[in-house]
Symmetry: C2
């Protein structure tokens, strides 16, 4: 359900500051306009992206919620340790703890499946705005408007997929409905784990250092992409062969230095640079506080079980890591918003726009009416949000309920003609739905889930009138106080004892059955899913209304704004492939403190406490003591090995794992984080403080060669 | 009793590293040898110190445990806020909280007495080594040796004081007995408080920022020195007149910048740069852990009472501040020792010295015997230390017991001829003893002291056999477990209820009475003091033995060391006036982080949380917002006001309040701290990391002029 927020709220339009040199995550089709050669690029923009031709873009994929890059002609993917993490966790047990020890497959037969992982490669994208704008032109009702957008989307995709089998197509809206693009993807469905350093390198510094500079994390891993023998997208098979990318990245020979031009191509998830004060108010006072509370609650329960049981710890590790990352992000955003008075600044800006329209009463009136509409739609959203969050809470706390709803919902949708089904439940989505069902078990620890689910139900039945969920009220009616809690505890315990949905095979057998068959088996989770259906449908209608209104008013707002500010707009990040550039550069985090743009191995040793997350492996300490740095020592860095570096590149979540390339388009690092001071950069880009943090390719190679002695990796990349 | 450690352990001799350019706290007589002009000094060393002539030294005094400097011809003293703190605390109540609000006397009649404060001005000092060395030449017994040193000390001082009434003389040993100097002081006994900024400026950052950089503390205060109408040292009287110093410091007109030469004249308390591995072992494994534990215990009790009661908080504020400062210092030293492996390094160095003597068997044998002696004397000290610490603990936890012992001990000593009395109990010491008795009440909060004293007794009766104190065992014999605790609680409660020593007047009336009279009044604390006397005397003999041995072996060791290392030695700090120099300079605290040498007002605002210790006064925020900086804005610092700065000056506790002077000998700042990374600098001076932190004189003047609008201060210093 968290994805919902991403979809709904990506559609906002707002420009806070005028555009800075390095700001923006640009569509690959727009980079020719950026005059990049004058900024330091030494190759042609065509080498980065040219439809129908191999380009740097061909070497880059979306994988594991982040980005990966091909670094050999045999489908070797370099990405972040934390991007590969879930796959590693899914193959770990308390006996074979790959997270802790790392993993190395020096021959292809030793590789293991990266469960649930796919790699998406963008082949091309085309502007389909006209089709969408034409379809909604005369529709005033916001729900109808959204439904039409959904319908057109499905039709355009169906047509394209029919014409080009073997590819997947997706519609992405840019600048909040001002434009629509049809993206064409090649999906690699068989991904395997090749080389993952031990957690003491790949996650060195852990949560303590997450988002922080100076940083000393060797946040990299290697995966491999496989396709069928005839080069087609195919599910795992031992007969599959390594994918041969149209292009793979070359490792830079010259080391990066301060002020160097660098760029990134990757899959940033979501920015919100063009939001109104109404949206900021929603994030600051509703969204962040609510999620922060919920995450604290969940992580508390996870920790309780993880401390008692190593097997539980491994099962819950990936969920915990994700939650903690979100927690720090939300906290950072919330602090940042308050620190820079973002809400006040937005209100001021909105006033200034109004003042600039003083001499044009007609325009001013239009602008004021627009504000009224924003106010109305957000007032309504604030009212609805508690109930929406209640459903989200249920989904977060019980993956079994989530699976039950998925199977139940599909049983309804599959009865409809394909193009009339809800998005995500078409035939083309069936493999995705099945994989979701398959992956549940790798993060499932029943005792923790029982506690979390019961806690969430107890919260929901105590929500104020109007925010509660009728179906749940009905289940426990007549009980109050301790009796109510007891009834919930009993229900949840019994439900988990009785359900057939914990067993993956049983679950997959039920997928695709019709609704009647499902209800006949009397599973408590199917019953709950069916009972919740009407509430979920109401919420969905609310969403459609919200989206429909925003789709109308946000583009209007962006027009006012862009007239007021001037400047060439880049669209907010939305998970599609983007280009951003910048320079290697430190920053001044506070009075009298200056951060250098490079960290070194000496800094790793400096942080060593002997205890996780700052436990330096003995072998690494020895390499440092004996200065056994091979060719990776850098004279300018006191003859030490560079570990991580800062750049002014504009990035966000989803960019994790993105290749950082130098002016010649050679690989110099792997992006893995932003600095804490820039966490609010999803809303505002501050060129003085916003930095991307990348692991230096020289550290990746040093660890591979000297620490892991993984010569095969270097050979495969043509370095030995 | 803590002073004991200072006296005993100051006598060590050890040189760890070769001498660096800026290292050393030099005797003023030695500075001509430093070739200072080549290092940046633009005045003659004679202007800093020349016996019998007014010099910069004449403008500097020891005050409140730190250093102060005269900045007007009317005895105006500039020092640190934290040096004046105890005086301010002694004049504060929960109604008139001068700590919180600050204090300003814009005319002389508004000034208030700085209770218990004196200012000592060094007039001259002469080498008397020969007298001492001659006296102990043939004495082998260490206790006799120490007694002889004490006796000669008293004789030399008595002779000098008789010849020059109105001055105080003190013997100070340099380089651990290699040299002895007779210091001549003029003491100003009437000190008053003139101007103290509010705690939110003078202690901005509090304990959190203590020892830290970047620093934003306006750590300054102004006092005034008074003497009798005829210019003589005199206790407080309303007829006294401002003291006219032989010299006062001029404020620099040119602002300080990076790399500028700076120097300090002040009263550093104690360094331990020439210690052996035996001494380091003692600090690392006994002294620091023991005191750290005890301070934690005491501060816990102080906090408990301070939270409940504002009056208690004010009474205990100065004690708490001192303890917390010591705590962070001890912790920092302990961490630092472990971090740099100081003990191992010392052992290595000692081995290298032995190796260098390989070709000279006679010398090597001598060296090895010396080591044996060090081992023996420290083994004994380690054995004795638990019992010694038990007595120290009693003294720290009960100032009433301390006072009782002082009165009791004086009653015994006063029966002896003056020159035969224990040091500190001669007639010349009577005013000091009386003042100590008078000051107790300003830090006394009886309920907290009852709890602390009982806790300490409970610890002592549970010490292992041999470390316990017989007199205390005797008091509670027959009790064990809970019964023992109950007996102690009852004793302490009863003792505080019955004693006459809480009332200052009653206490002073008893001072000077003979032992029989004292014992006849049956006060529980006199009884306890008398019972402890034999243990204290045994401890004192242990000390004399320890000192006597060290006085023999440390100078021998320093000879070996100085032959091995070469180089010109400065004596360890010992509370006498010293000169040190250096340059304005930032540092690199860790990988990828660089500290600038200046902080600014913008940084003060940056740290504002609205809550102590980071609550910026509204008026200061306004000055910053309106850029109302007067002439204090510095173009090189982004047109902001400098607040604090770093320099490579070698300093330690006691240097607090020292004037920082530029190459022309003009005042540019007031030293107030060292950085955390340099806390171990009492043992080792690391030129890369050791920095002194000073408040910039421009911040002092900016706060005085713009924030406090204390024009009279600027006028008196000739600036308006």
């Amino acid at each position: 359900m968290r994805k919902r927020f991403i979809i709904v709220l990506t559609l906002a339009v707002f420009l806070l500051t005028s555009l800075y040199a390095d700001e923006g995550e640009w569509l690959l089709k727009d980079i020719a306009k950026l005059n990049l050669q004058s900024k330091g690029l030494k190759i042609s923009p065509d080498e980065i992206f040219k439809p129908g031709k191999p380009s740097i873009n061909s070497a880059i994929c979306q994988v594991g919620g982040g980005t990966g890059e091909f670094v050999s002609e045999k489908g070797l993917i370099l990405t972040n340790h934390h991007v590969a993490y879930t796959a590693v966790q899914r193959s770990s047990t308390d006996v074979t703890n790959l997270i802790k020890d790392g993993f190395i497959a020096d021959t292809i037969d030793k590789e293991i499946v990266a469960r649930g992982y796919e790699a998406w490669i963008t082949i091309d994208f085309t502007d389909v705005t006209e089709i969408f704008h034409k379809a909604i032109k005369d529709i005033k009702n916001p729900v109808e408007r959204t439904k039409t957008l959904e319908k057109v989307s499905k039709e355009v995709v169906a047509k394209a997929e029919k014409k080009n089998p073997g590819y997947r197509y997706e519609i992405s809206s840019m600048l909040n409905g001002k434009a629509y693009y049809l993206f064409k993807y090649f999906i690699v469905k068989d991904i395997r784990i090749v080389y993952v350093p031990p957690v003491a390198i790949g996650e060195f510094g852990g949560e303590t250092d997450n988002w922080m500079w100076p940083r000393h994390t060797g946040d990299f891993s290697f995966l491999r992409a496989y396709v069928s023998k005839d080069g087609k997208s195919a599910e795992y098979s031992k007969d599959n062969v390594p994918y041969k990318p149209a292009m793979y990245l070359k490792i830079a020979k010259d080391g990066l230095i301060n002020d160097d031009f660098v760029f990134v191509v990757g899959y940033p998830g979501q920015t919100k640079r063009y939001r109104t004060s109404y949206s900021i108010n929603y994030y600051q006072n509703v969204f962040y506080p609510r999620f922060i509370n919920k995450i604290e609650e969940i992580v508390g329960v996870i920790d309780k079980y993880s401390e008692k049981d190593q097997a539980a710890a491994i099962k819950l590790a990936s969920l915990k890591k994700g939650l903690e990352n979100a927690y720090k992000n939300f906290q950072g955003n919330l602090e940042g918003m308050k620190k820079v008075n973002l809400l006040d600044k937005k209100i001021q800006l909105e006033k200034q726009i109004a003042e600039s329209l003083a001499s044009n009463p007609a325009e001013l009136k239009k602008y004021e009416e627009l504000h009224k509409k924003f106010k109305e739609v957000f007032d309504r959203e604030l009212q609805n949000s508690a109930k929406e969050f209640a459903i989200t809470g249920l989904n977060i706390s019980s993956s079994i309920l989530g699976d039950a709803y998925l199977i139940y919902k599909y049983s309804i949708e599959k009865e409809k003609p394909d193009l009339e089904r809800d998005a995500g439940f078409q035939e083309r989505d069936v493999p995705v739905l099945k994989r979701r069902l398959q992956m549940t078990e790798y993060g499932l620890y029943v005792p923790a889930q029982i506690e979390l689910f019961a806690d969430t139900l107890k919260e929901i039945v105590r929500l104020p009138e109007g925010s509660r969920i009728e179906a749940i009220d009905e289940m426990f009616k007549g009980n109050t106080g301790d009796e109510l809690d007891k009834a919930i505890d009993e229900f949840v315990k019994k439900a988990y004892a009785e359900t057939k949905l914990i067993d993956t095979k049983a679950k997959l057998d039920l997928f695709g059955k019709d609704t009647k068959t499902l209800m006949a088996i009397n599973d408590p989770f199917f019953k709950l899913a069916a009972a919740l259906e009407s509430t979920i449908e109401v919420n969905k209608e609310w969403d459609r209304e919200f989206i429909g209104v925003l789709n109308e008013i946000r583009p209007q707002f962006i027009d006012f704004l862009s007239k007021f500010k001037g400047g060439f707009l880049y669209p907010d990040a939305n998970g599609t492939v983007r280009f951003s550039y910048g320079y290697v550069k430190g920053y001044k985090p506070k009075d009298a403190v200056m951060y250098d743009p490079f960290t070194t191995l000496a800094g790793v040793i400096e942080k060593d406490t002997g205890k996780s997350p700052f436990n330096v492996p003995e072998k690494l300490t020895k390499l440092e003591k004996t200065k056994n740095f091979g060719s990776y020592a850098v004279p300018a860095l006191n003859n030490d090995v560079p570990v991580a570096f800062l750049s002014t590149i504009d990035s966000t979540g989803g960019n994790s794992g993105s290749p950082v390339l130098n002016a010649k388009g050679e690989l110099v690092g792997v992006l893995f984080d932003g600095n804490y001071e820039s966490m609010i950069s999803d809303f505002v880009f501050d060129p003085e403080l916003t930095r991307a943090i990348s692991v230096d390719i020289r550290y990746v190679l040093f660890i591979a060669e000297k620490f892991t002695e993984a010569d095969f990796i270097l050979k495969e990349m043509g370095l030995k």
